[in-house]
Protein backbone atom coordinates (compact mmCIF):
# COMPACT_ATOMS: atom_id res chain seq x y z
CA UNK A 1 0.00 0.00 0.00
CA UNK A 2 1.73 3.11 -1.19
CA UNK A 3 0.44 6.65 -1.52
CA UNK A 4 1.32 9.27 -4.07
CA UNK A 5 3.85 11.08 -1.95
CA UNK A 6 5.52 7.85 -0.94
CA UNK A 7 5.90 6.89 -4.59
CA UNK A 8 7.31 10.34 -5.35
CA UNK A 9 9.80 10.07 -2.51
CA UNK A 10 10.86 6.61 -3.69
CA UNK A 11 11.37 7.99 -7.16
CA UNK A 12 13.77 10.59 -5.78
CA UNK A 13 15.53 8.13 -3.51
CA UNK A 14 14.43 9.56 -0.18
CA UNK A 15 14.34 7.23 2.78
CA UNK A 16 11.03 6.85 4.54
CA UNK A 17 8.56 4.23 5.66
CA UNK A 18 4.90 4.17 4.84
CA UNK A 19 2.56 3.74 7.80
CA UNK A 20 -0.58 3.39 5.71
CA UNK A 21 -3.56 5.70 5.68
CA UNK A 22 -5.59 7.19 8.48
CA UNK A 23 -9.40 7.11 8.70
CA UNK A 24 -9.74 10.02 6.27
CA UNK A 25 -7.48 8.33 3.76
CA UNK A 26 -4.56 10.67 4.46
CA UNK A 27 -1.19 9.15 3.81
CA UNK A 28 1.02 8.66 6.86
CA UNK A 29 4.79 8.42 6.61
CA UNK A 30 7.51 7.74 9.10
CA UNK A 31 10.77 9.59 8.68
CA UNK A 32 13.97 9.21 10.64
CA UNK A 33 14.97 12.17 12.79
CA UNK A 34 18.31 12.59 11.02
CA UNK A 35 16.59 12.84 7.61
CA UNK A 36 13.73 14.99 8.77
CA UNK A 37 15.19 18.43 8.21
CA UNK A 38 16.22 17.83 4.61
CA UNK A 39 12.97 16.06 3.79
CA UNK A 40 11.00 18.94 5.35
CA UNK A 41 12.75 21.35 3.02
CA UNK A 42 12.06 19.04 0.06
CA UNK A 43 8.39 18.81 1.00
CA UNK A 44 8.15 22.57 1.26
CA UNK A 45 9.66 22.93 -2.17
CA UNK A 46 7.32 20.20 -3.44
CA UNK A 47 4.42 22.43 -2.40
CA UNK A 48 3.40 21.67 1.15
CA UNK A 49 3.30 25.28 2.23
CA UNK A 50 1.01 24.92 5.26
CA UNK A 51 1.81 23.12 8.51
CA UNK A 52 -1.68 22.49 9.76
CA UNK A 53 -0.80 20.97 13.06
CA UNK A 54 2.17 19.75 15.01
CA UNK A 55 1.76 17.58 18.06
CA UNK A 56 3.62 14.95 20.01
CA UNK A 57 2.77 11.92 22.05
CA UNK A 58 4.33 9.16 24.08
CA UNK A 59 3.98 5.95 22.13
CA UNK A 60 4.22 3.39 24.91
CA UNK A 61 5.58 3.10 28.44
CA UNK A 62 9.33 2.96 28.05
CA UNK A 63 8.97 3.26 24.28
CA UNK A 64 9.55 5.99 21.77
CA UNK A 65 8.32 9.56 21.63
CA UNK A 66 6.60 10.69 18.47
CA UNK A 67 6.33 14.10 16.89
CA UNK A 68 3.53 14.41 14.32
CA UNK A 69 3.23 16.94 11.51
CA UNK A 70 0.14 17.45 9.36
CA UNK A 71 1.02 19.18 6.11
CA UNK A 72 -1.33 20.64 3.52
CA UNK A 73 -0.72 21.97 0.05
CA UNK A 74 -2.71 25.17 -0.34
CA UNK A 75 -3.33 26.37 -3.87
CA UNK A 76 -5.87 28.52 -5.67
CA UNK A 77 -8.91 26.81 -7.12
CA UNK A 78 -8.46 23.49 -5.32
CA UNK A 79 -11.24 22.17 -3.11
CA UNK A 80 -9.51 18.92 -2.10
CA UNK A 81 -5.98 19.96 -1.14
CA UNK A 82 -3.28 17.35 -0.88
CA UNK A 83 -2.51 16.40 2.70
CA UNK A 84 0.08 14.24 4.37
CA UNK A 85 0.88 13.24 7.91
CA UNK A 86 4.51 12.80 8.95
CA UNK A 87 5.58 11.01 12.10
CA UNK A 88 9.08 11.29 13.49
CA UNK A 89 10.05 8.97 16.33
CA UNK A 90 12.80 9.67 18.82
CA UNK A 91 14.26 7.64 21.63
CA UNK A 92 13.15 8.44 25.15
CA UNK A 93 16.71 8.69 26.46
CA UNK A 94 17.87 11.44 24.16
CA UNK A 95 14.93 12.74 22.14
CA UNK A 96 16.32 15.10 19.54
CA UNK A 97 14.45 16.05 16.43
CA UNK A 98 15.40 18.87 14.05
CA UNK A 99 13.07 21.81 14.30
CA UNK A 100 11.00 22.78 11.29
CA UNK A 101 10.62 26.35 12.54
CA UNK A 102 12.83 27.64 9.72
CA UNK A 103 10.63 25.88 7.16
CA UNK A 104 7.16 26.50 8.57
CA UNK A 105 7.18 29.38 11.06
CA UNK A 106 3.94 28.20 12.66
CA UNK A 107 5.85 25.35 14.29
CA UNK A 108 7.20 27.80 16.87
CA UNK A 109 4.74 27.50 19.76
CA UNK A 110 3.69 23.97 18.83
CA UNK A 111 7.22 22.68 19.19
CA UNK A 112 7.64 24.58 22.42
CA UNK A 113 4.55 22.88 23.76
CA UNK A 114 5.82 19.48 22.65
CA UNK A 115 9.09 20.26 24.39
CA UNK A 116 7.27 21.37 27.52
CA UNK A 117 4.98 18.36 27.76
CA UNK A 118 7.24 15.55 26.50
CA UNK A 119 10.76 16.88 26.64
CA UNK A 120 11.53 16.41 22.95
CA UNK A 121 14.31 18.87 22.23
CA UNK A 122 14.00 20.41 18.81
CA UNK A 123 17.41 21.27 17.42
CA UNK A 124 17.81 24.71 15.97
CA UNK A 125 14.61 26.05 17.47
CA UNK A 126 15.11 29.77 18.24
CA UNK A 127 13.71 29.85 21.81
CA UNK A 128 13.00 26.40 23.07
CA UNK A 129 11.71 26.80 26.60
CA UNK A 130 8.66 25.83 28.57
CA UNK A 131 5.46 27.47 27.43
CA UNK A 132 2.69 26.07 29.67
CA UNK A 133 4.42 24.99 32.84
CA UNK A 134 6.51 27.32 35.03
CA UNK A 135 10.10 27.51 33.87
CA UNK A 136 11.45 25.89 37.01
CA UNK A 137 9.22 22.82 36.60
CA UNK A 138 10.91 19.44 36.77
CA UNK A 139 9.81 16.54 34.62
CA UNK A 140 7.76 16.13 31.46
CA UNK A 141 4.06 15.99 32.38
CA UNK A 142 2.67 14.08 29.40
CA UNK A 143 5.15 11.23 29.44
CA UNK A 144 3.66 7.98 30.58
CA UNK A 145 6.22 7.56 33.34
CA UNK A 146 5.63 11.01 34.81
CA UNK A 147 4.68 11.11 38.48
CA UNK A 148 2.84 14.22 39.52
CA UNK A 149 4.30 15.95 42.58
CA UNK A 150 2.17 15.95 45.69
CA UNK A 151 1.35 19.64 45.54
CA UNK A 152 -1.30 20.98 47.87
CA UNK A 153 -4.44 22.24 46.28
CA UNK A 154 -7.70 23.25 47.79
CA UNK A 155 -9.90 20.24 47.30
CA UNK A 156 -12.44 20.45 50.09
CA UNK A 157 -13.50 24.09 50.06
CA UNK A 158 -17.18 24.77 50.38
Amino acid sequence: MQGRLSAWLVKHGLVHRSLGFDYQGIETLQIKPEDWHSIAVILYVYGYNYLRSQCAYDVAPGGLLASVYHLTRIEYGVDQPEEVCIKVFASRRNPRIPSVFWVWKSADFQERESYDMLGISYDNHPRLKRILMPESWIGWPLRKDYIAPNFYEIQDAH
Binding site: P134, S136, W137, I138, P149, N150, F151, Y152, I154, D156, A157, H158
Partner: protein, 187 residues
Protein backbone atom coordinates in the same frame (compact mmCIF):
# COMPACT_ATOMS: atom_id res chain seq x y z
CA UNK B 1 22.98 27.50 54.53
CA UNK B 2 19.76 29.36 54.69
CA UNK B 3 18.51 31.00 57.79
CA UNK B 4 14.86 31.08 58.50
CA UNK B 5 12.52 33.80 59.55
CA UNK B 6 9.16 32.85 60.81
CA UNK B 7 6.17 34.83 61.68
CA UNK B 8 2.61 34.08 62.45
CA UNK B 9 0.63 36.84 60.82
CA UNK B 10 1.07 40.16 59.21
CA UNK B 11 -1.39 42.45 60.85
CA UNK B 12 -1.81 41.67 64.51
CA UNK B 13 0.76 43.56 66.50
CA UNK B 14 0.05 41.80 69.78
CA UNK B 15 0.89 38.46 68.25
CA UNK B 16 4.01 39.85 66.68
CA UNK B 17 5.26 41.01 70.03
CA UNK B 18 4.47 37.62 71.39
CA UNK B 19 6.54 36.19 68.59
CA UNK B 20 9.56 38.27 69.59
CA UNK B 21 9.14 37.15 73.16
CA UNK B 22 8.92 33.60 72.02
CA UNK B 23 12.21 33.78 70.22
CA UNK B 24 13.85 35.21 73.32
CA UNK B 25 12.41 32.43 75.37
CA UNK B 26 13.71 30.00 72.84
CA UNK B 27 17.18 31.45 73.33
CA UNK B 28 16.92 30.74 76.99
CA UNK B 29 15.52 27.31 76.44
CA UNK B 30 18.18 26.03 74.12
CA UNK B 31 19.57 23.51 76.53
CA UNK B 32 16.15 22.30 77.43
CA UNK B 33 15.39 21.97 73.77
CA UNK B 34 18.13 19.40 73.28
CA UNK B 35 16.76 17.36 76.12
CA UNK B 36 13.30 17.64 74.67
CA UNK B 37 14.60 16.42 71.34
CA UNK B 38 16.13 13.42 72.97
CA UNK B 39 12.82 12.68 74.57
CA UNK B 40 11.20 13.27 71.22
CA UNK B 41 8.15 14.86 72.79
CA UNK B 42 8.06 18.25 71.14
CA UNK B 43 10.54 19.93 68.87
CA UNK B 44 11.17 23.61 69.23
CA UNK B 45 12.35 25.56 66.22
CA UNK B 46 15.88 26.85 66.25
CA UNK B 47 16.09 30.48 67.36
CA UNK B 48 16.31 33.14 64.69
CA UNK B 49 17.94 36.51 65.14
CA UNK B 50 15.58 39.39 64.55
CA UNK B 51 17.04 42.15 62.41
CA UNK B 52 16.60 45.84 63.00
CA UNK B 53 16.12 48.66 60.55
CA UNK B 54 15.08 46.53 57.56
CA UNK B 55 14.28 48.41 54.36
CA UNK B 56 12.43 47.23 51.30
CA UNK B 57 15.02 46.52 48.63
CA UNK B 58 14.99 45.36 45.04
CA UNK B 59 11.22 45.61 44.82
CA UNK B 60 11.00 48.15 42.03
CA UNK B 61 10.35 47.61 38.38
CA UNK B 62 14.02 47.82 37.45
CA UNK B 63 14.60 44.61 39.34
CA UNK B 64 11.82 42.85 37.48
CA UNK B 65 9.05 43.56 39.96
CA UNK B 66 8.85 39.94 40.97
CA UNK B 67 10.02 37.63 43.69
CA UNK B 68 10.44 33.94 44.38
CA UNK B 69 7.53 32.63 46.38
CA UNK B 70 5.16 29.79 46.97
CA UNK B 71 1.74 31.01 47.96
CA UNK B 72 -1.10 28.79 49.06
CA UNK B 73 -3.87 29.68 51.44
CA UNK B 74 -2.18 28.86 54.72
CA UNK B 75 1.48 28.97 53.77
CA UNK B 76 3.33 31.77 52.08
CA UNK B 77 7.03 31.28 51.59
CA UNK B 78 9.19 34.08 50.24
CA UNK B 79 12.88 33.92 49.42
CA UNK B 80 13.54 37.19 51.20
CA UNK B 81 13.70 38.70 54.64
CA UNK B 82 10.40 40.24 55.68
CA UNK B 83 10.32 42.32 58.82
CA UNK B 84 7.61 41.01 61.16
CA UNK B 85 6.55 44.46 62.38
CA UNK B 86 7.02 46.85 59.51
CA UNK B 87 6.50 44.31 56.68
CA UNK B 88 9.57 45.65 54.88
CA UNK B 89 10.51 43.19 52.14
CA UNK B 90 14.26 42.91 51.71
CA UNK B 91 14.97 40.99 48.53
CA UNK B 92 18.74 41.31 48.81
CA UNK B 93 18.69 38.58 51.47
CA UNK B 94 17.82 35.73 49.17
CA UNK B 95 19.63 33.30 51.48
CA UNK B 96 16.68 33.47 53.85
CA UNK B 97 13.22 32.09 53.57
CA UNK B 98 10.30 33.73 55.29
CA UNK B 99 7.22 31.75 56.19
CA UNK B 100 3.94 33.54 56.77
CA UNK B 101 1.60 31.08 58.40
CA UNK B 102 -2.12 31.27 57.78
CA UNK B 103 -2.47 34.97 56.97
CA UNK B 104 -6.26 34.69 56.69
CA UNK B 105 -6.58 33.25 60.20
CA UNK B 106 -8.54 30.23 59.15
CA UNK B 107 -7.31 28.24 62.14
CA UNK B 108 -6.88 28.90 65.82
CA UNK B 109 -3.18 28.79 66.54
CA UNK B 110 -1.35 28.46 69.80
CA UNK B 111 2.36 29.08 70.16
CA UNK B 112 2.82 25.35 70.60
CA UNK B 113 1.20 24.40 67.30
CA UNK B 114 2.95 27.30 65.58
CA UNK B 115 6.28 26.02 66.82
CA UNK B 116 5.46 22.58 65.48
CA UNK B 117 4.92 24.02 62.03
CA UNK B 118 8.05 26.16 62.27
CA UNK B 119 10.13 23.20 63.35
CA UNK B 120 8.73 21.17 60.48
CA UNK B 121 9.55 24.02 58.12
CA UNK B 122 13.15 24.09 59.30
CA UNK B 123 13.35 20.34 58.99
CA UNK B 124 12.10 20.52 55.41
CA UNK B 125 14.50 23.31 54.48
CA UNK B 126 17.37 21.26 55.89
CA UNK B 127 16.14 18.33 53.86
CA UNK B 128 16.08 20.36 50.66
CA UNK B 129 19.52 21.85 51.25
CA UNK B 130 21.45 21.89 48.02
CA UNK B 131 18.35 21.87 45.84
CA UNK B 132 18.09 24.78 43.41
CA UNK B 133 16.26 27.80 44.78
CA UNK B 134 13.30 27.79 42.40
CA UNK B 135 9.57 28.12 42.66
CA UNK B 136 9.28 24.37 42.21
CA UNK B 137 11.34 23.63 45.32
CA UNK B 138 9.50 26.27 47.33
CA UNK B 139 6.21 24.81 46.24
CA UNK B 140 7.31 21.33 47.30
CA UNK B 141 8.16 22.71 50.74
CA UNK B 142 4.94 24.71 50.94
CA UNK B 143 2.83 21.73 49.92
CA UNK B 144 4.48 19.54 52.54
CA UNK B 145 3.68 22.14 55.18
CA UNK B 146 0.08 22.33 53.99
CA UNK B 147 -0.24 18.56 54.27
CA UNK B 148 1.28 18.80 57.73
CA UNK B 149 -1.27 21.46 58.72
CA UNK B 150 -4.04 19.21 57.44
CA UNK B 151 -2.64 16.41 59.56
CA UNK B 152 -2.63 18.69 62.60
CA UNK B 153 -6.23 19.57 61.88
CA UNK B 154 -7.28 15.95 61.50
CA UNK B 155 -5.47 15.06 64.71
CA UNK B 156 -7.47 17.72 66.48
CA UNK B 157 -4.46 19.82 67.43
CA UNK B 158 -5.72 22.90 65.66
CA UNK B 159 -9.28 23.78 64.78
CA UNK B 160 -11.12 26.13 62.54
CA UNK B 161 -11.42 29.73 63.61
CA UNK B 162 -15.16 30.34 63.58
CA UNK B 163 -14.58 34.11 63.52
CA UNK B 164 -12.57 33.99 60.32
CA UNK B 165 -13.57 36.36 57.58
CA UNK B 166 -14.13 33.52 55.11
CA UNK B 167 -15.61 30.33 56.51
CA UNK B 168 -15.36 27.78 53.77
CA UNK B 169 -13.55 24.97 55.61
CA UNK B 170 -10.88 24.64 52.97
CA UNK B 171 -9.41 21.50 54.55
CA UNK B 172 -12.66 19.61 54.94
CA UNK B 173 -15.82 20.09 56.91
CA UNK B 174 -15.59 19.92 60.71
CA UNK B 175 -16.29 16.41 61.90
CA UNK B 176 -17.10 14.64 65.13
CA UNK B 177 -14.57 11.82 64.96
CA UNK B 178 -10.96 12.78 64.75
CA UNK B 179 -8.05 10.54 64.06
CA UNK B 180 -7.79 9.39 67.66
CA UNK B 181 -11.25 7.91 67.36
CA UNK B 182 -12.74 9.65 70.36
CA UNK B 183 -15.90 11.63 69.81
CA UNK B 184 -15.39 15.31 70.49
CA UNK B 185 -17.53 18.36 70.43
CA UNK B 186 -17.30 20.38 67.31
CA UNK B 187 -17.87 24.07 67.49
Amino acid sequence: KRELRKRRAFFISAQQQAEVEESQQVNAQEEEQEKMKQQGKQKLPRPVEPQVNVKSKNMSREYGGQWLSSVTRHVRIYAAYIDPVTCEFDQTQMDKLTLILDPTNEFVWTSETCNKVYAYFQELVDHYEGAPLTEYTLRLIGSDIEHYIRKLLYDGEIKYNMNARVLNFSMGKPRILFNDGLPQNVQ
